[in-house]
């Protein structure tokens, strides 16, 4: 791929080098820029060069970040924060070139406070790395995305991430007590519920933490976070149940979600298309009998005294409508595999059944439980239409997961996973993908849901629907963006927020 040299002014590069004071902290090489253009989600590879930043800077301190942002604001150069770059929307993808602020060197554990059960970290630390350090203290930070092994705290805050253990421990927004953020004009503020870096509940002022949580890099760059520490669970329990049809699994999902068990970490549901997909190459499902068309599963975390009796209730509820237990070996193994799903995105199938490499698109909607069957049916109908018309798509099925933190009943995170054969992409294919996304997202809005429960509505296909989902709040959102980022330098082009400047 030919790549134009950076268009950024050489004086700005010199200022960036002076701010950080390290020779290798400002990168302009082709590989450094190309590798920070995309995320794992499907990407318009035929137009890769349009998303390449002009420069990458790797700060170490909040002072570095503040000075970098002030420089960008003064010179009106776009600036895009990037943590792990593992997002499944486009939060970290530069749409207008400019400077990528890569926070991976801000990866220190600054304080472990066992008296108040908090840990304070830089935004560049990974949860698995953090938890390995916390084991010796008998505590953990239980934010558990499918990218657990590779995503970073800064990105979790940027997307307001979803945790597989959210029903038990909460999601990212519940597990981050407060954080420090550099505003688009360079000022540094600390946000929490009210004041107090380690205070979990306050009624003072506006709850600014929630404004900046899920900011998608459009309102600043997080430079430090104070996180919740929970006692390490003594034991975990997972049970998977097999069903002949989706409806029975769906009703069993509700029984489990409404069980009232305090140790319930999550309840999961696979539909028949998902089971068919897993039969291709997932060791847990390849040998399941043909009658298996759906799966419901639950997991528990806590003390042995809590989990052992609760596990018996889960076994009763899972079987109460006819579900068949999958067995200890697969229950335990498949649950652990759920924590790291970034290994599966190559298993696409062309229409003739041949294996082809595909990237993974997962629409991550929040859907009221009662609407799930209708949404599911419409989603697969949409997917089928696109699979039929274009050979670059593959329907990988739907799963649903309890969505509410500490309140597993009610709405679910529902994902339809789609494969996209990037190697075959041209502009017509990319536009078809955007159209597919938009139809899937619109279906969710039509049924009273939210189009994203964990990735963010930052890419084409979702972004243009943000005003519709936000309703009357959209004008307020634009006013906030204009106020905090008067020059639209902070991750411009995302979530339709350019309209705030028209």
């Amino acid at each position: 791929m030919t790549l134009a040299p950076p268009t950024i002014d050489s004086g700005i590069l010199e200022e960036l080098r002076a701010i950080v004071g390290e020779e290798d902290a400002v990168l302009i090489s082709k590989s450094s820029r190309l590798n920070r253009a995309r995320v794992p989600a499907p990407f318009p590879v035929h137009r890769w060069e349009e998303f390449v930043p002009d420069a990458v800077v790797l700060p170490r301190t909040v002072q570095h970040v503040s000075e970098i942002v002030k420089l960008a604001n003064r010179t009106k150069v776009p600036i895009v924060p990037r943590a792990g770059g593992t997002g499944l929307a486009d939060g970290a993808v530069p749409l207008r070139g400019g400077i990528v602020v890569d926070v991976k060197r801000m990866d220190k554990i600054k304080e472990v406070d066992l008296a108040n059960n908090t840990v304070t970290v830089g935004p560049g630390i990974n949860m698995q790395t953090l938890n390995r350090q916390l084991v010796k203290h008998g505590v953990m930070f239980p934010d558990d995305p499918a990218s657990y092994a590779c995503s970073l705290i800064g990105g979790r805050i940027g997307t307001s991430g979803f945790s597989l253990l959210g029903s038990r421990y909460g999601h990212t927004r519940d597990l981050v007590i407060s954080f420090e953020i550099v505003l688009p004009t360079g000022e540094v503020i600390e946000v929490g519920d009210g004041g107090g870096r380690k205070v979990r509940k306050s009624s003072t002022g506006y709850h600014l933490k929630h404004l900046f949580m899920g900011h998608q890099g459009t309102l600043g760059i997080v430079t430090e976070a104070t996180l919740e520490l929970v006692p390490r669970a003594e034991v975990e329990f997972a049970a998977f149940f097999l069903f002949e049809d989706f409806d029975t699994a769906y009703r069993t999902h509700r029984l489990l979600a409404c069980s009232g068990l305090a140790t319930l970490a999550g309840v999961m549901l696979f539909d028949s298309e998902k089971v068919a997909y897993l039969r291709r190459d997932d060791e847990a499902y390849i040998e399941q009998p043909d009658w298996v068309k759906a799966v419901a599963a639950a997991s528990l975390y806590g003390t042995r005294a809590e989990v052992e009796p609760a596990s018996k209730i889960v076994m009763e509820l899972g079987r109460s409508l006819g579900g068949k237990y999958i067995g200890d070996e697969i229950s335990s193994g498949d649950w652990s595999a759920r924590h790291d799903r970034y290994a599966n995105p190559l298993h696409g199938r062309a229409r003739d059944g041949q294996v082809v490499p595909m990237s993974w698109h997962c629409e991550d909607a929040a859907v009221p439980y009662s609407e799930l069957p209708a949404v599911r049916a419409k989603w697969h109908a949409i997917a089928s239409r696109y699979v039929e018309q274009y050979e670059i798509f593959d329907d990988w099925g739907m799963f649903a997961y309890t969505n509410g933190a500490h309140k597993p009943w009610g709405d679910v995170l529902a994902e339809i996973d789609m494969g996209l054969w990037e190697e075959r992409l041209d502009e017509a294919g990319w536009q078809a993908f955007i159209s597919l996304k938009r139809e899937i997202a619109q279906t969710v809005l039509d049924h009273g849901g939210s189009m994203t429960a964990c990735h963010g509505a930052t890419r084409a296909g979702d972004a243009e629907l943000v005003p519709q989902e936000m309703g009357g709040g959209w004008d307020v959102m634009m006013a906030i963006k204009r106020l905090l980022d008067p020059n639209n330098v902070m991750n411009p082009g995302k979530q339709s927020l350019d309209r705030a400047y028209e």
Binding site: D144, L165, E244, R279, R304, K324, D328, D340, Q354, V355
Partner: protein, 89 residues
């Protein structure tokens, strides 16, 4: 594989994977509990040829990883104490 490889030696004949046996219409198995996509489905993107030791290394690393994941969030496991239930077919 004719016999277990001898440590410290690479002998080509010892590294050949056994002939696959069919598990499902799209999956085969060469080593016990190690599933592989049917090579017939990989005509467009052929499967990489791997020596037996490498397959076993990857499988062992996968199990190590899953064990490690269990330890991330809990010190132990509670199991139902049951195997898979039979269905109607």
């Amino acid at each position: 594989m004719a016999a277990d490889p001898r440590p410290g030696r690479y002998v080509q004949s010892e590294q050949a994977a056994p002939e696959p046996r069919r598990v499902s219409h799209q999956v085969v198995m060469r080593f016990d509990h190690v599933f592989e996509v049917d090579p017939a489905l990989m005509a467009r993107f052929p499967q990489q040829k791997m020596p037996a030791w490498d397959t076993k290394r990857i499988v062992a690393a996968r199990w190590d990883h899953l064990d490690d994941v269990h330890r991330q969030f809990a010190d132990g496991k509670v199991l139902a104490g049951e195997g898979p239930e039979a269905g109607d077919d």
